[in-house]
């Protein structure tokens, strides 16, 4: 916890300093009263103050938060999830919702250890269910790609 708290504290201080660099150019209200910069600046001061306290306190003990064990394989799962979302964003408008969703669901389930047959069936069923829910019941258009799916 100690090391992570120090890093978190530094990040918050950096955020505070960053806010200052941005608000520097903000205009003020008439008669020189603070305007759009007032709240961001106040937050910047708080980020820096509390960030420093966090670093100082990290030396003493904090109530230990539960850290669940994670193996490299599982950490790779997290990056996989990020990849899935990114892939969705990139291809959905070209390929359409039905194909994108079914394929990505299938890949993610396979990665998480579901059997081939189960992954195939459930990914198709979930996709059809979402399609029914959004485009038929709620009447929200989902992206349809070049194939019109």
């Amino acid at each position: 916890m100690k090391k992570n708290d120090c890093i978190a504290g530094c990040l918050f201080i950096a955020l505070g300093l960053f806010i200052f660099t941005q608000t520097f150019t903000y205009p003020s209200l008439e008669k020189g009263h603070p305007g759009p910069d007032l709240f961001p600046n106040l937050l910047a001061i708080l980020f820096i103050g509390f960030g420093l306290t966090l670093i100082l306190k990290a030396r003493k003990l904090f109530p230990k938060t539960e850290i669940l064990s994670s193996t490299p394989k599982r950490i790779s799962n997290a990056f996989f999830v990020i990849g899935i979302v990114a892939a969705y964003v990139i291809i959905v408008n070209r390929v359409g919702f039905l194909i994108t969703s079914a394929i990505l669901l299938f890949i993610l389930m396979k990665k998480l250890g579901v059997t081939l047959f189960k992954s195939a069936i459930t990914s198709i069923l979930i996709t059809l269910f979402i399609n029914l829910l959004f485009s038929k019941i709620l009447r929200v258009p989902l992206p349809y790609g070049i194939l019109g799916w």
């Binding site: 978190a8 759009p36 961001p40 579901v114």
Partner: protein, 505 residues
């Protein structure tokens, strides 16, 4: 009376009934699965409610949250993992009783006292909200500023673990709320030339990311939880409940009132209500030694409190537009997006919608008896739902939901960033709920402060000299200095035997 009839007619529309039933099943399922919280369920529900009329949208949230908070008790009793954080306070007691072969009784108590707690909360909501709305008419920007500041302070006060980290989470939320066009000059802040950010961070994808996607990350990183599930005979759960109700009638009243009050406090939710009710129950009990090793009294008290808290949280949300907990924080975001401004004006202009909400609380709690029974009956199947299929499904729901609101992939990006942030925060002991409250309360604090200042030509004294404003200011200051006061008090009175005993645990 007229409004009650109108509210009932809104509620007994076949479409609304269908929405209630689906929301009930959804709430029970999400609540019963450890790790999936009621807040996450709300976040995932928003894209749907966004496309519904106001009444079914509100009713579905009410039903879902009531069911989810109850259903969180089921895995607490059967596998010793709370289904939602609100059941954490009495998980140990529930499981100990299950080990003693009393699973049926525990689950019966969970259903019955959740229902009673929920009904107490609903009755207080019905009576208190219109009365407070009268007072709310007198509120100006000064009072709203203090009210929102009070909400922010309570959020930090009650954050679990370290208050320092709670405060930092809150500041992050406040910072996110400053992104976009500012209210005084229309100056774009932190938009970096992006057109999408001019209107600020879109609230719905942000919520879905913070509560939905972060949970997917947590689950895929920490793997399957394998647990043996205790067997229950659902038919026996209601046996002897009448006797227990009689025996614990004072506990019910105390915890129901306490839970609702904690709900009303801006920023404190059902999990806090359960913990405080548990602590008070132990202090007032004739058998405090049983607490932690299977006390039915503890479950009665905490189980009543967490369900009564839900309706309580709607009071400040509807009357002032200040959220009582993280679920109502999401709710307020949704109401704003739908063009419904929570506040005293709703009470004058659309009272029938409010009555539909009140009545749906009562209906949802009554429905909890048959639905709760069914949920307990199918508990072992629900608890065996495979994570590695559930999580991909949740992820795709998150993506589609975030996309559907504005039909832009930019929002999916917001969702992903918030999901990563939510995961990193929680993994390092920073609570996520204050982030949401910051996002919702930030604009209220800033807008009311700036408007007050411009209105009075920067005369700060007005914040302290107006009567209601002064009272709210004192309360806020008391909250800030509460830890200090407690510390001083303990120094003056160091050897209080009871205080020491409770500290030992």
């Amino acid at each position: 009376m007229e409004f009650i009839v109108q509210g009932l007619s809104l509620l007994f529309d076949p479409k609304v009934i269908l929405v209630i039933i689906i929301s009930a099943i959804y709430g029970l399922f999400v609540g019963a699965i450890p790790g999936l919280t009621a807040t996450m369920a709300t976040a995932l529900l928003i894209p749907f409610t966004f496309f519904m009329d106001p009444v079914p949208a509100l009713v579905s949230i009410v039903t879902m949250e009531a069911m989810a908070i109850f259903a969180g008790d089921i895995p607490a009793a059967l596998v010793r993992i709370p289904g939602t954080p609100s059941s954490a306070a009495y998980t140990q007691d529930s499981f100990e009783l299950t080990k003693q072969g009393k699973a049926e009784m525990v689950l019966g108590v969970d259903v019955v006292f959740s229902v009673i707690g929920g009904l107490i909360g609903a009755l207080i909501l019905m009576t208190a909200a219109p009365l407070l709305a009268e007072i709310a008419f007198k509120f100006t920007t000064f009072e709203y500023f203090w009210l929102a500041t009070m909400g922010l302070s309570v959020t930090v006060m009650v954050s679990r673990g370290s208050q320092l980290k709670g405060a930092l989470s809150l500041f992050l939320g406040l910072f996110f709320s400053t992104i976009g066009v500012d209210i005084t000059l229309g100056f774009p802040r932190f938009t970096f030339g992006s057109v999408e950010l001019l209107n600020g961070i879109n609230f719905i994808p942000a919520m879905i990311g913070l509560f939905g996607v972060s949970e997917v990350f947590r689950s895929v990183m920490h793997g399957e939880l394998a647990y043996p599930i205790a067997k229950v005979q659902a038919g026996k759960i209601f046996k002897g409940m009448g006797r227990l109700c009689k025996r614990f009638k004072l506990n019910i009243l105390r915890s129901g009132l306490l839970g609702t009050f904690i709900g009303i406090l801006p920023g404190a939710g059902a999990d806090i209500a359960a913990w405080i009710a548990y602590a008070l129950s132990k202090r007032g009990s004739k058998e405090p030694e049983k607490y932690g090793s299977g006390s039915i009294e503890a479950i009665v008290d905490a189980g009543t409190a967490n369900n009564s808290c839900l309706a309580g949280a709607w009071i400040p949300a509807l009357v002032f537009g200040i959220p009582g907990d993280s679920i109502t924080a999401i709710l307020i975001g949704v109401l704003f997006m739908k063009g419904l401004r929570p506040g005293p004006l709703i009470f004058e202009r659309q009272p029938e919608i409010l009555y539909a909400v009140y009545l749906s609380f009562i209906l949802a709690n009554l429905l909890m008896i048959p639905f709760g029974y069914l949920a307990i009956k199918s508990s072992s199947q629900m608890l065996r739902a495979p994570r590695n299929i559930l999580m991909p499904a949740i992820l795709i729901f998150c993506i589609v939901g975030s996309f559907a609101i504005n039909n832009t992939v930019f929002d999916v990006g917001v969702m992903l960033v918030m999901g990563i942030l939510g995961y990193c925060l929680e993994a390092n002991g920073f609570p996520v709920a204050p982030v949401v409250l910051g996002i919702v309360l930030g604009p209220i604090v800033e807008k009311n402060f700036m408007m007050s200042m411009i209105k009075t030509d920067w005369d700060v004294t007005q914040f302290f000299t107006r009567p209601i404003s002064a009272i709210l200011c004192i309360v806020t200051l008391l909250i800030w200095f509460f830890p200090l006061i407690i510390a001083l008090f303990q120094k003056v009175k160091p050897s209080h035997p009871k205080g020491r005993a409770s500290k030992m645990e």
